[in-house]
């Protein structure tokens, strides 16, 4: 029995506003194995970003618990354990006044990690995404795709166990997005991280993950779960043409369409 990387038990988030209490997340129960890649899909406003923010220490849960590699927390994951998590944001939040290199050093500065090994790690990661020669560039000198790659490896510099990704490729054009999907797949094979990915793209979810949770909105809850047990090492550019993939794709589409129908009815 392997230890779970992350599980949530009845995780709930309520927001207080003038018109009363809004339930953003209701009894969320998910689990992720070590080195597993899991996706979350759902309509906008279903609370999938809120869930990720709670797991990433940006937001606090109202009730419920999170256990992270065997430690159970009810107030959200403490700062000490956040060092084992990397967060990739949907929005472009590279710091404009820092060069690529200094942006990558930011997590290390905060976590007080110093030394040759970390310097080497930054160079390695830059090499992995093919941006070594932009090490001293400022963010505004890079294209959107390049900035996205830098944000991706910024979440990896402190060598976290778990990577939380909030629609990381959402702001890119379709071609760059496909390209980055495959690039990310090979990065996953190399780094072997546990990953929780929020996405709105069926192909992205199927290509990368072995489990896909489907959420519905108001209140946000998990309604479905689809498994795809092809090991990550065996996935590549032709995976999308296999029968199993196509079958799962149709199944997923159906689930999402039903979800949308219900949204319209209610």
């Amino acid at each position: 029995m392997t230890i779970k990387a992350l599980t949530t038990k009845n995780l709930t988030k309520n927001y207080q506003s003038r018109s009363g209490t809004t339930c953003a997340l209701n009894d969320i129960n998910i689990d992720i194995d070590d080195k597993q890649i899991v996706s979350i899909m759902g309509p906008s406003g279903c609370g999938k970003s809120t869930l990720l923010q709670i797991l990433g220490g940006i937001n606090k849960p109202t009730s419920g618990t999170i256990s992270f590699y065997g430690h159970e927390y009810s107030e959200g994951i403490p700062n000490e354990d956040l060092k084992k998590i990397g967060f990739v944001f949907q929005a472009d939040n590279l710091l404009a006044w820092r060069t690529v290199k200094d942006n990558l050093y930011l997590p290390l500065e905060i976590m007080n990690l110093r030394g040759k090994e970390w310097d080497n790690r930054i160079h390695e990661l830059l090499d992995m995404v093919g941006l070594k020669k932009f090490i001293n560039a400022y963010p505004h000198e890079l294209s959107g795709g390049m900035r996205q790659r830098i944000r991706l490896i910024r979440a990896l510099v402190h060598n976290p166990n778990l990577l939380l990704m909030d629609q990381p490729f959402g702001a890119l054009d379709a071609i760059t997005r496909k390209l980055l999907n495959y690039e990310f797949l090979s990065l996953c094979k190399k780094t072997q991280k546990t990953i929780l990915l929020v996405t709105n793209d069926i192909d992205e979810a199927l290509l990368l993950s072995s489990k896909i949770y489907i959420m519905s909105s108001s209140p946000g809850k998990i309604t479905n779960e689809v498994k795809y047990d092809l090991p990550i090492a065996e996935r590549n550019r032709v995976t999308a043409r296999t029968n199993k993939y196509q079958q799962l794709r149709i199944e997923l589409k159906k689930i999402i369409q039903e979800e949308m129908m219900q949204l319209r009815v209610s």
Binding site: Q53, G56, G57, I58, N79, E80, L82, K83, I85, F87, F89, A91, D92, N93, L95, A96, W97, L106, P107, E109, I110, M111, Y138, P139, H140
Partner: protein
Amino acid sequence: MKARRSTKNVLAPLIVLVVLLIGLELIIKAFNISRQVLPAPSAILSVCAKEFKVNIWSHLIVTLKVIITGFIVGVPIGIFCAALLSQFKILEKAFSPYVIMLVTTPFIILVPIFMLWLGFGLNVRILAVILQTIPIVMLNSLSGFNNVEKVKLDLMNSLGATKVQTFIKVIFPNALPQVFTGIKLGGIFSTIAAVSAEFAGAQTGLGNRIMYFSSFIETELAFGCILIIALIGITLFNLTSMVERKIIIWKK
């Protein structure tokens, strides 16, 4: 390309100046305007050049001393107070109406009262400059410190950063453009405050000289002093802009 633009930046205002001076000179000559009303630019220049060493230089030094001391003391205090207010919302709520009150209060009206406390020395004027500079620097810096995109703060939270780390590494550098706007305005306010204080009651300084020369109908010298004060303001503004361009290189 860049070099050409910068020569354009210098050349354009200079041409305006030359055209203005020649125009003024011609109008004054053509309509035979008395020097007591409006002295010709050429006269201002020649008289001031002759009298500069004896009648202007020492007063220029005094005024510069007041402006620069007040500016150098006031700017960091203003930034520090803004930092404090931005991080403790209760302080901001408690103090912000008074900050705005201080910005709008012309300190010239308080100078006579300061003199009752501090005598007639330079300290009164320096105090006036400091008190006029702090609030305007503070107001601008505060708006910078308060306008950080949430995604940047989220990033720091996701890394488990402390409040101090978040301020030093994100909030402060993110606000630098607004802080510099505050500093530039601070330079202008410092100049205005120093000259006003000299008007209100002083035996030295360019502000005092303007009153002194006017009372003796030395209009050339009075106008000369006004131009020098304007020059001090412009220089301070441009020096700050220069430092700003050196520091904020990430802005397109």
